[in-house]
Symmetry: C2
Subunit: 368 residues, 2 copies
């Protein structure tokens, strides 16, 4: 039953390993590209796989509204629907309900809200979220929780964390275990050590296949986020994968890996790519900048993605400035490849005991 | 010197052949996807080639404005800039100046106009158009002409045709011949047989590597267009390629091939694809239609493009309805593949002497 996690190497708090799922292995530390509406925006799924991604993330909130979980199930599940045969993790919908939906109302039972697409009314609860994620066929299901707003007083954060714990129990009860499929808990408690501790202990007591740290990357800043990781990661079982939700920029990921995090997801590489921002070994480049109009060099000479192998910065500049779809396609591909190269580099550095030197080895001096 | 044309088979007026250029062979009858701004919208160039395209079309007007011909030349030419190593034909800019530019003014010398992008002022003339197409590195350069408006009186059409003839001579004089590169003339004369005859004869007298028929597909309707082809195609040399500019829908192409046309270009497959219209062996489908929301079938079961092999109509419906870039990518890919399959089917039918039965062989009964 369930997903399995095997640790290969540890180096300080950092570790490499493999999460085994019904649709294959996830090498950790892993970055999961976000495939919100059953597509990683501007990418063919085989291209996402070619960047080195072992798993992608789907959004319960978006998919329940359109095309609906029941429709995806009738069409053979999310893997078949979007032509992706590797693992999929779905979030529970809670975060997007808070950030996107209208007229939301939270009760002990769950959340009611109106769709941001057409205003129609929906309900989401631990039981309904488990049902939707089951219909989608997710390899890794996330418990339904309340994403505590930031900033929150300790009292507000405590109330929210306790509601999430009750919903975590109901999620576990409603979840239908299957071989190779797993259910992850989510530690809440905002920036309060005592609350994170109580949340982690209660979740471990319920028992999950992995543990996420939620409620971060919501505006608290990297310093505070890393402080929370410093005391939260050690609260989690050594032998289960740890997932930092919604993070982040390359340096956030490097620092979190150093603190023992195994899994990440974030829209930054895809969204930034569509907006013309490239992550490279020289730092970030805004390809719209006029200085790139005549630049015959590739984005990143060490990168082997098509955007870097076959095209100049001048061409990418032209595409993005002209609003051409190929600009979004190539910039997204590059950023996803950069993120996967970063993860592969981190895994190699852990295995070879040189994580302390990682930045110096991986990055290059800034260019003019 | 110049491009060469070899006819393989004829069947009635229709023929198959090969145009040999510096960047390779073009199998005719050929359909050229339009790569307006140095990109076939929503497609990687290797995917365009995978659909079966031997050549694509670039737009002088768009490229002279952005990123400019001089910049493309400095970066190694259009083939290298856009990573396409097969033949490229560029139009002369005349048509887009008429349809897109602002404040245009035509004199004997040429055209002045303002960019539709930023309002800055430009000049285009036979000499400048030849220079731009040379800088781009086009395998096939089109003479600079005036696209006669439709409808036009015979007197207006005559004056316009005569201006185009004088510009054709200046284009020929300004063009720098190179081995494997060719210059095509453009027959004008609107819907007037006598004018088309005078235009064709004068162009043949100047001498070009191929002959285009311009000023059609501008609102005259298929019946009138085919009447013009009926009398214009026989005016053109048997041993040079004939190119019908800006055409068209599948049935336009089939009828024009029957009348001896060898080359076509049109934005319909790409633009329609982005708008959710698919060309299939069952006719056209608007994938946004609600009836496709649960349709597990491929767009066209006989098509081998990724959109048809890997995805359902339901998924494409979802993507296009959701405004996802992958919807534009897959729909464009399918339509370009459909057009290339159509051309391959036409070439095979000519070679096997069964062009009369083409529709019955190629298309399938309409579906529910």
């Amino acid at each position: 039953m369930s997903t399995r996690f095997k640790i290969s190497t540890t180096s300080g708090h950092a570790r490499t390993g493999v999460v085994k799922t019904a649709h294959g292995d996830i090498r950790t530390p892993a970055f999961m590209p976000v495939g919100t509406a059953a597509t990683v925006k501007a990418m063919m799924p085989e291209s996402v796989a070619a960047t080195g991604a072992d798993i992608l993330l789907g959004n319960t909130y978006h998919l329940m509204l359109r095309p609906t979980a029941e429709r995806i199930d009738a069409l053979g599940g999310l893997h078949k629907f979007m032509h992706w045969d590797k693992p999929i993790l779905t979030d529970s919908g809670g975060f997007q309900v808070m950030s996107l939906a209208q007229l939301r109302k939270i009760t002990e039972k769950g959340v009611t809200f109106q769709s941001h697409i057409d205003g129609s009314k929906y309900e989401l609860s631990p039981e309904r979220s488990m049902e939707i994620q089951h219909l989608l066929g997710s390899d890794i299901t996330m418990i339904f929780d309340e994403c505590t707003p930031f900033p929150a007083t300790e009292k507000v954060a405590e109330k929210s964390m306790e509601l999430s714990l009750r919903w975590a129990r109901r999620s576990k009860d409603a979840y239908k275990p299957r071989k190779g499929y797993g259910l992850f808990g989510i530690v809440q408690g905002s920036v309060y050590h005592e609350l994170r501790k109580r949340s982690a202990e209660a979740l471990i007591d319920i028992g999950f296949d992995g543990y996420a740290i939620g409620g971060l990357a919501v505006g608290e800043g990297q310093k505070v986020m890393l402080e929370v990781l410093d005391y939260t990661a050690p609260l989690l079982p050594e032998d289960k994968p740890r997932y930092l939700m919604g993070v982040g920029k390359p340096d956030d990921i490097i620092e979190a890996v150093r603190r023992g995090i195994d899994m990440f997801d974030c829209v930054i590489p895809t969204r930034s790519g569509r907006n013309g921002q490239a992550f490279t070994r020289y730092g970030t480049l805004n390809i719209k900048n006029a200085k790139f109009a005549d630049d015959a060099r590739p984005l990143d000479e060490k990168c082997e993605c098509p955007a870097c192998k076959d095209y100049s910065r001048a061409y990418l500049h032209h595409l993005v400035r002209s609003g051409e779809i190929l600009g979004s396609m190539l910039m997204t591909w590059h950023n996803l490849r950069f993120y996967q190269d970063l993860m592969a580099g981190l895994r190699a550095a852990i295995e070879e005991g040189r994580l302390d030197d990682f930045e110096a080895d991986f990055f290059l001096p800034k260019q003019a």
